[in-house]
C-alpha cells in the first residue's frame, strides 16, 4: 500500500475528527461571554441559568477537543518528518506560540469557569469565560497562521534544503492568513449559534424550563443570523478574492473553470467530470466569477488548462466540497432570518416544524466547516507547501505502511468509541435540561 496515501488519510481522519470540536468551543465560549455578561450586569437569573447549562456542555465538548488535539501537536513529527525538517524553522514557531499564548489560557481559565462560580467574585468569573474565548480564538489564529503559510508561504528563503525564516511578521501575516482567520472564526461562531439554537429548540419542544430555553433560542437565532450574513459578506467574498490572486489553480478547481476565459461564469450547479474535463448539467451566470474575483465582469480568470497537468488539484472533490459549503452558507442565512422573523412575530413557539428543523440543523455548520477545509486542503494538492514542497516528499521515511495502517485502525476505533460516548452523554445532558432558576438568583 502507498504510505503517502495512508499518511494523508490518517492526517485527514485525525484532523477532521478534531475539527468537529474547536468550532463549537470557540462559538459557544463567545456566546457565553455575552450571556454571562448579561447575567452579571442585569442580575438576570435566566441568563445565569443559560450560562450554567451551556457552560457544562462546553466542558464536555472542550474535553473531547483537548483529547483529539493532543494528537495534532505530535503528528507532524511522527508522520511528516521530512516536512517537519523542511519547515521547522518557520512552522514550529506558530505551534509553540499557540501553546504559550492560547492553550495555557483556555485550559487554565476553563477550570476556573467550570468550578469557580461559587469561589470567586462575579467579575472574576466572567473574566474566566472571557479568557477561555480569547484563548480559543488565539489558538485558532496561530494554527491558521501555520496552515496559511503552507498555502501562501512568505517571509522565508530556501537555504541548505530547508525553508529559513527571514521575516517573522511577513510569515505570520502572509497573504491568506487574515482572510482565512476571519472566515474560519466566523464559521465557528455559526457552529456555536446553531448548536445553542438547536438545543434550545429541543427544550422548547419538550416544554422544559421554557423561560430559560426561549431566551436562549432567541439569543442564539439572532446571533446566528448576524454571523451567518457576515460569513458570506465580507468574509467569504474576501477569502475567494484573495484565493483567486494567490492560488489560481485552486480557485479554478473549486469554481470548475477548465479553460481560461474573459467574462468567466459562476457555476451555480454542475456535475464535474475529470475525463474528459467538463461540467455537466451546468447552470451558470456569465461574467459573475470575473466580477467576484476581480471586481470586473470582463476580467480574465485563469482556468485549469493553463497549469501543468501534474500540478493541478483533484477537481471533483474540491468542486463538490466548495459548492456544498456555499449552499449550506446560504441555508444558514435563510433559516436564521426566517426564525428571527417568527420570533419577532412571536409565532415560533408553536411552530413545531421550524423548531425541529433548527434541532436537526445542529450538525450542518460543522459539515460546512469540514467541506471548506477539504476544499482548501485538497485544493492545495499536490503541494504540502504551495509551490515549495510536494506532499509525496514530506512523509516520514522510517515509518512503514504497516505502522501507519495500524495507527489508522487504532485511532479509527478510538474515535468511533469517543464519538459514540460523547453523543450519548450530550443527549443525556440535554434531555435532563437546565436547572431551574434558583430562588437566590431569582431574588437578587
Amino acid at each position: 500500500m502507498d504510505p503517502v496515501l495512508l499518511a494523508r488519510f490518517q492526517f485527514a481522519m485525525t484532523v477532521g475528527f478534531h475539527f468537529l470540536f474547536p468550532p463549537l468551543t470557540i462559538g459557544l465560549s463567545w456566546m457565553l461571554v455575552i450571556i454571562e455578561m448579561l447575567g452579571w450586569k442585569k442580575k438576570s437569573g435566566i441568563y445565569v441559568a443559560i450560562g450554567k447549562f451551556f457552560g457544562k456542555i462546553l466542558g464536555l465538548i472542550f474535553a473531547v477537543g483537548v483529547a483529539t488535539g493532543v494528537v495534532m501537536e505530535f503528528q507532524f513529527g511522527t508522520n511528516w518528518a521530512e516536512y517537519s525538517k523542511f519547515v521547522g524553522d518557520i512552522f514550529g514557531a506558530p505551534l509553540a506560540a499557540e501553546g504559550v499564548f492560547a492553550f495555557f489560557l483556555e485550559s487554565t481559565f476553563l477550570g476556573l469557569y467550570l468550578f469557580g462560580r461559587e469561589k470567586v467574585s462575579k467579575n472574576v468569573h466572567w473574566f474566566s469565560i472571557f479568557m477561555v474565548a480569547v484563548g480559543a480564538t488565539i489558538s485558532a489564529f496561530w494554527i491558521i497562521v501555520a496552515n496559511s503559510w503552507q498555502q501562501t508561504p512568505a517571509g522565508y528563503i530556501i537555504l541548505q534544503g530547508r525553508a529559513e525564516l527571514t521575516d517573522f511578521w511577513t510569515a505570520v501575516f502572509n497573504p491568506s492568513t487574515m482572510v482565512r482567520f476571519l472566515h474560519t472564526t466566523d464559521a465557528a461562531l455559526i457552529s456555536g449559534a446553531f448548536f445553542m439554537a438547536g438545543v434550545s429548540a429541543y427544550l422548547v419542544l419538550k416544554g422544559k424550563e421554557l423561560e430559560i430555553s426561549k431566551k436562549a433560542l432567541t439569543f442564539a437565532v439572532i446571533f446566528g443570523l448576524v454571523v451567518s450574513m457576515l460569513e458570506v459578506f465580507p468574509f467569504g467574498h474576501e477569502h475567494g478574492r484573495v484565493l483567486a490572486q494567490t492560488q489560481p489553480e485552486k480557485f479554478a478547481a473549486i469554481m470548475g473553470l477548465y479553460s481560461s476565459q474573459n467574462e468567466a461564469p459562476l457555476a451555480l450547479f454542475a456535475v464535474p467530470f475529470d475525463h474528459p474535463p467538463e461540467l455537466k448539467a451546468h447552470i451558470k451566470i456569465p461574467g459573475l466569477l470575473s466580477w467576484l474575483a476581480f471586481g470586473d465582469i470582463h476580467a480574465r480568470v485563469q482556468g485549469l488548462n493553463e497549469f501543468p497537468k501534474e500540478e493541478v488539484p483533484p477537481l471533483f472533490l474540491t468542486f463538490v466540497s466548495y459548492h456544498n459549503m456555499v449552499i449550506l452558507g446560504m441555508y444558514f442565512i435563510l433559516i436564521t432570518a426566517f426564525a428571527s422573523y417568527k420570533i419577532f412575530k412571536k409565532t415560533i413557539w408553536e411552530s413545531k416544524k421550524l423548531l425541529k428543523t433548527l434541532l436537526w440543523s445542529i450538525p450542518l455548520p460543522l459539515i460546512a466547516c469540514q467541506l471548506g477545509w477539504i476544499a482548501a486542503e485538497v485544493g492545495r494538492q499536490p503541494w504540502i507547501v504551495y509551490h515549495l514542497m510536494k506532499t509525496k516528499d514530506a512523509v516520514s521515511i522510517t515509518v512503514g505502511w504497516g505502522e501507519i495502517l495500524f495507527s489508522i485502525i487504532l485511532f479509527g476505533v478510538i474515535y468511533i468509541l469517543l464519538g459514540w460516548v460523547f453523543i450519548k452523554l450530550l443527549v443525556k445532558k440535554v434531555k435532563h435540561g437546565p436547572e431551574p432558576i434558583s430562588a437566590k438568583e431569582a431574588l437578587s
Partner: protein
C-alpha cells in the same frame, strides 16, 4: 559563552521540568485511583486535580511545539523513530483527557468504573513512557544518515530494552510518590493516612530504583559521566537532589505536606537537570557513532527563529506562570465535593 542554542536547551529543559512537576502529580493521582476503592475517595482524587490537570498537560504540548520550533531535526527524527510508542502515548492521553467529563456524566457504577480505569491506565502509561523515552535518549538512539537524510529507526520492542524499562518504572514510582504527596495536601482523615503510607512505600522503592538506575547508567552510557565530577553545577544539583530526597519522608512525618511537595518538585527538577547536564550539548546521542549525535547546534533552527521564539517565551511564560499561580491559590486547600464537581 551562553548562546541562543544553549538558552533554548535550558528553556526546553524548563518546559520538561514544568511538565514533570505539574502533570507529574496528576499522573500519580491517576495511578493511585487504580488502587482506590471508596467512591468518595475516588471523587476526591479526581476533583483534587479537576480544575488544573488540563493546564498542566499543556506543558507537554508546549514542549512539543518548542522542540519543533527550536530543534526541528530532533522533533522529526525522534517522533518518527518512536512511532508506535507515540501512538500508545497518544491513546493513553486521549482516554485520560475524556475520562473526567465522561465519568461525571455516566450514572451506572459499571460505566464509572470503566472511566476510572481509563483515567488510571491513561495516567500510568504516560508516567511509564516518560522514563522509557528518557532512558532511550540517555542510552543513545541509532541516529544515522540515510540518503543524506537524518533518520533513527528503532522498533517498538527495541525501545522496551531493560535499561529504558528500568528508568520507566523509576519515573512511574516517582510520579506516584509525587501524586501521593499532592493528595495528602488535598485529603483528610483515613484517606490522608493512607497517602502517608503511599509516600513512605514509594519513597523506598524510588531510592532503591534510582540507585540501581544510576549504577546501570555507568555501564550503558559511560560517556555521560565524562567531565561531570569536576563541574560545580553538577555538585550543586547533586547535593540539592540528595537533600530534597532525604527531606521528603521527614516532612511527611511532620505532616508538613506543602514542604514535602516542594521537596519532591525540587527532586524532579534536579533529576531531569542532571540528566540534561550529562547530555549537554547533545540532545540525542547516537548509539551507532557518537559523532552522529544530534546536538543543540546541528539540529537547531536558525538564530533568527531562536530569537523570535525567545521573545515569544519571554512575553508569554511570565503571564502563564502568573495566572497559573492565581488559579492554584483559588483552589488551594482540601477538596470539597459540590454538585458541580466531577
Amino acid at each position: 559563552m551562553i548562546d541562543l542554542n544553549i538558552i533554548w536547551f535550558l528553556l526546553f529543559g524548563v518546559l520538561i521540568i514544568g511538565y514533570a512537576i505539574l502533570d507529574g502529580f496528576d499522573l500519580g493521582v491517576g495511578v493511585i485511583q487504580l488502587f482506590t476503592k471508596d467512591e468518595n475517595e475516588k471523587r476526591i482524587n479526581i476533583n483534587s486535580i479537576g480544575p488544573v490537570w488540563d493546564g498542566n498537560e499543556v506543558w507537554l504540548l508546549t514542549g512539543g511545539g518548542a522542540l519543533f520550533a527550536a530543534f526541528p531535526i530532533v522533533y522529526a527524527t525522534v517522533f518518527s523513530g518512536f512511532y508506535l510508542a507515540f501512538m500508545l502515548l497518544l491513546t493513553a492521553l486521549i482516554f485520560r483527557a475524556v475520562s473526567f467529563e465522561f465519568r461525571k456524566y455516566s450514572e451506572k457504577p459499571g460505566e464509572k468504573k470503566r472511566w476510572d480505569l481509563a483515567f488510571g491506565l491513561g495516567s500510568l502509561v504516560p508516567a511509564l513512557l516518560f522514563g522509557v523515552a528518557l532512558g532511550n535518549i540517555l542510552r543513545g538512539l541509532p541516529v544515522e544518515l540515510k540518503d543524506e537524510k537524518v533518520v533513527s529507526s528503532i522498533s517498538f520492542l527495541g525501545l522496551l530494552n531493560p535499561y529504558a524499562l528500568l528508568v520507566g518504572v523509576l519515573s512511574l514510582v516517582l510520579f506516584t510518590m509525587h501524586g501521593a504527596i499532592y493528595l495528602s495536601m488535598k485529603s483528610t482523615g483515613r484517606q490522608r493516612d493512607r497517602m502517608i503510607s503511599w509516600i513512605n512505600n514509594t519513597w523506598i522503592a524510588y531510592v532503591v530504583l534510582y540507585s540501581i538506575a544510576t549504577f546501570a547508567t555507568f555501564f550503558v552510557a559511560p560517556y555521560l559521566f565524562k567531565n561531570m565530577l569536576g563541574s560545580l553545577v553538577f555538585w550543586f544539583m547533586f547535593i540539592l537532589l540528595f537533600v530534597a530526597i532525604l527531606f521528603i519522608p521527614v516532612a511527611a512525618r511532620m505532616k508538613k505536606f506543602g514542604l514535602a511537595f516542594i521537596s519532591s518538585s525540587v527532586m524532579i527538577a534536579m533529576m531531569i537537570g542532571l540528566a540534561a547536564l550529562s547530555l549537554f550539548p547533545r540532545l540525542v546521542p547516537s548509539s551507532i557513532n557518537l559523532e552522529n549525535s544530534l546536538t543543540i547546534y546541528n539540529a537547531s533552527s536558525t538564530p533568527k527563529t531562536l530569537t523570535t521564539m525567545l521573545i515569544i517565551a519571554l512575553i508569554g511564560m511570565p503571564i502563564v506562570i502568573g495566572y497559573t499561580i492565581f488559579i492554584y491559590r483559588i483552589f488551594r486547600g482540601n477538596v470539597l465535593i459540590t454538585k458541580d464537581s466531577y
